[in-house]
Amino acid sequence: MSDDDHGPLFMALVVAGGLSHGFGLAYSRMARPDIVLDFLQLEDFGLLFVMGGAALVTGLAIQLGTRVLETAPLTGTRYAGREKGFDRNVVVGGVVFGAGWGLSGVCPGTGYASLGIGNYPILWAVVGMFVGAYVQGLWRAHRQSASRETATTGD
């Protein structure tokens, strides 16, 4: 079981990107669930500028990659946008995620960043996210094997 070995430059870039990402999440106050809840309760619309600013920069990078450059220097990967297929899961997942985000004011990235600002109660949310990810994995594995059994007995 060998992991992809992209070399030390790859990891250095991941570290640099992660540092900037986390710095920005703290700078924008998104690492504070209280501020995110203020947005969701329609009291402070600043979050739109966080997402908008981040999407603008990322959009420029995607334009540069896909239109000017060809392949990424560290992996040889051809640049592409993020295009995931649309299906029922996208809708169900969006609704469940929205309910969780609205209840807690925490999403994955802001949860990690919140640890960095010393917000120790956020461990409740981080543990919860791992539990949730594990539960959906169990459930989907169970569902998959159940449908396979049905198919076999139906032959």
């Binding site: 899961n89 929205g98 539990v131």
Partner: protein
């Protein structure tokens, strides 16, 4: 009401730190993308990290096992980057007033929802929107709408914060 006072009502804390923070958030994703071609999201870390501990085939998929190491490094760097800002540029640690059961319950739903829905606020909300992906636009509209409704209902039940 003048345009200015409406703007002040919508943005009681101003917009500067929101916008500047957002630019850093996007810069982090962009640096990794331009070097590697990878649009790094945040929720995949949850499932890939579970592959260290669980034999469930779902978590042992090749694309998870081959990316789990750098995703851990990415998440740890996010923690460090946030710490740099908070402890070097502000008065220091922040501790939330949001109640533990909201954090735990919300966290569980977030863990389920982002993995079923193929992404979170960074994957769909930043990289997906930046790609003008229709899948992401639908997902983001849904999760913001449901989150606003949830937060308003919880607040109307008198839960603070």
């Amino acid at each position: 009401m003048s345009a200015l006072s409406i703007a002040v009502n919508l943005f009681p804390r101003g917009i500067d730190h929101y916008l500047i923070g957002g630019l850093f958030v996007g810069l982090g994703i962009s640096v990794i993308y331009l070097g590697t071609g990878i649009l790094a999201g945040n929720s995949t870390f949850l499932e890939t990290t579970l592959s260290y501990a669980s034999d469930l085939p779902r978590f042992q998929r090749e694309k998870y096992v081959t990316s789990r190491d750098w995703r851990v490094v990415f998440a740890v760097s996010i923690v460090a980057g946030a710490a740099v800002y908070e402890f070097a540029f502000t008065a220091g640690a922040f501790v939330t007033d949001v109640q533990w059961w909201r954090l735990l319950g919300g966290g569980i739903l977030v863990g389920i929802g982002t993995r079923i829905g193929k992404g979170c606020t960074s994957g769909h909300g930043v990289s997906g929107i930046a790609s003008l992906s229709r899948t992401s636009i639908v997902n983001v509209a849904l999760f913001i709408g449901v989150a606003v409704a949830t937060a308003l209902v919880v607040a109307s039940l008198g839960v603070t914060p």
